[in-house]
Symmetry: C2
Subunit: 297 residues, 2 copies
């Protein structure tokens, strides 16, 4: 088996790594800077691919909707992309085969192969990052839906505060349970704004009242979204990944308590709630697994 | 093939019918009257079973959660039942084999066998009646979940008006999209209360402003729930059954318009929305199919 490159194209950063014999042997990260425009981001991706020595194929996880050939992007709302033949552009520029998939689908595949969804028949991966995404394993296989939309869990309406969402609706899971949402909620109340969710976790640990309040607000909505998923899918396990999952370690017991109180029936066991052990590598791993599965020969 | 009896045990009425060579050859309906107590309702069920001539097995759809042996009810919130060995009680009294399943699961199986989910790989049946229930076909098979909870779609939180739900949460799909919800919304505003959703559909057709207003409120929330399901499951088709589905015929175009506006991506086709052609027979049919599948020999 040769080397493959996995790229995790996020709204904030582009993470990448080379997989060789099931191990990530080198890795890197650069800022996405979508505000500098699409051509510059495409150049960045070309540079990452060109720098990968002896790489036979590339798999990229994108925060959006990809066609079934895994070459074409219908839509990436967080990157302001619509109908972009990303794989063809990158292949023409680099001569290396490129495949695409939804980032959360790839992270779910990575969890299934190497993480906490291994051996799980029905399980959900939730990525709590710039947005909220997810992948769902049903009957042991990734569920992709009927029209390529898959599992757009971030756009399940759950709430009531009237917060607008990029999808055009209000009160989607994403506007309550992303890292962005936690930071927004905190900054609307704070004398000094923070830039990252991590700073709020620090505040929470130091018993900063605003940090405690924001984490409480966050947990309350996350519990509502998780209970919805339990009532709809009755999975064995829900695994949390993405930026917020690091802080979720501090409050997982409280989340479980709220989920237990709100789930539909108390008579039956419910999904285990766990925090991904792949941390930030799930996207890289998933992209590399895609490249390995799809490449010729 | 002998005769089997299907019973649809609803919060308002008990419908039943005998299936013989794929046709319902006789049928009946009696009021549930749960307020008269559980023993009286059990007697009613025994009477229905005893009256079925040459019936070799019985399948009952219950509005709740059933164990995997299909003999025992964990919980039926609308009937105020908890942990009831219904099948055993009825078998001991009548000598006929009895099987149970969730009513919406059975209706989905009936749609798959004889209705609008025939040949559909990924499809959803939504029953809009006393509550909101549903069954989901994924990869051509009924999805039952990991712990017997299945698809409790009525308890997906979607809303923001602060309406309490029987499950203990607020703002579940059911408190907006059941027939009960439509009647409640109308009666809170009407000088003369109605008893059934049907009367509101009549008012809507006669251009009664309150009927129009209530149907508009109803459609708005139903569209939100349907968009959630499209964003989560990306099904080929969603079929509506139950009391409200009859009136939904009048406004299906408007529902489609709102769903189209709100779905996550406009670039992909979405689920077809259709009204069940089995009407009130889906539950009876599903119960009978269960009995046929499970009976000995």
């Amino acid at each position: 088996m040769g080397r493959v490159l996995g790229i995790d194209l996020g709204g904030t950063s582009v993470k990448y790594g080379i997989l060789h014999e099931d191990r990530i042997i080198s890795r890197g990260v650069v800022p996405t800077e979508i505000e500098k425009g699409t051509p510059q981001l495409i150049e960045k991706l070309k540079g990452i691919i060109r720098s990968g020595e002896n790489v036979s194929a590339v798999g990229i996880g994108v925060p959006g909707i990809v066609d079934e050939t895994q070459k074409f992007i219908y839509e990436c709302k967080n990157l302001f992309w619509k109908e972009i033949p990303l794989a063809r552009w990158l292949e023409e520029a680099t001569g290396v085969e490129v495949f695409l998939d939804n980032d959360a689908n790839l992270a779910a595949l990575a969890e299934q192969q190497a993480g906490l969804l291994k051996g799980i028949n029905n399980g959900i991966l939730l990525t709590l990052g710039t947005g909220v995404g997810g992948g769902v394993i049903l009957g042991g296989a990734l569920y992709r839906g009927s029209h390529g939309l898959g599992f757009e869990v971030g756009h399940m309406r759950i709430g009531y505060e009237g917060i607008p969402c990029t999808c055009g609706r209000q009160d989607c899971f994403e506007v309550y349970s992303s890292a962005t949402a936690l930071v927004r909620h905190y900054n609307e109340r704070a004398p000094l704004p923070v830039r990252e969710a991590r700073e709020i976790f620090d505040g929470y640990q130091k018993k900063d009242p605003l940090g405690i309040q924001s984490m409480d607000w966050y947990l309350d909505h996350l519990a509502d979204g998780v209970v919805n998923l339990i009532n709809l899918f009755d999975p064995q396990r829900i695994v949390f990944a993405g930026g917020v999952s690091l802080g979720l370690n501090l409050v997982l017991g409280e989340l479980e308590k709220r989920v237990e109180q709100r789930k539909f029936t108390k008579a039956l066991p419910r999904a285990e709630l766990m925090i991904s052990s792949l941390e930030n590598d799930a996207g890289i791993y998933g992209g590399a697994l895609l490249a390995e599965a799809m490449r010729k020969g």
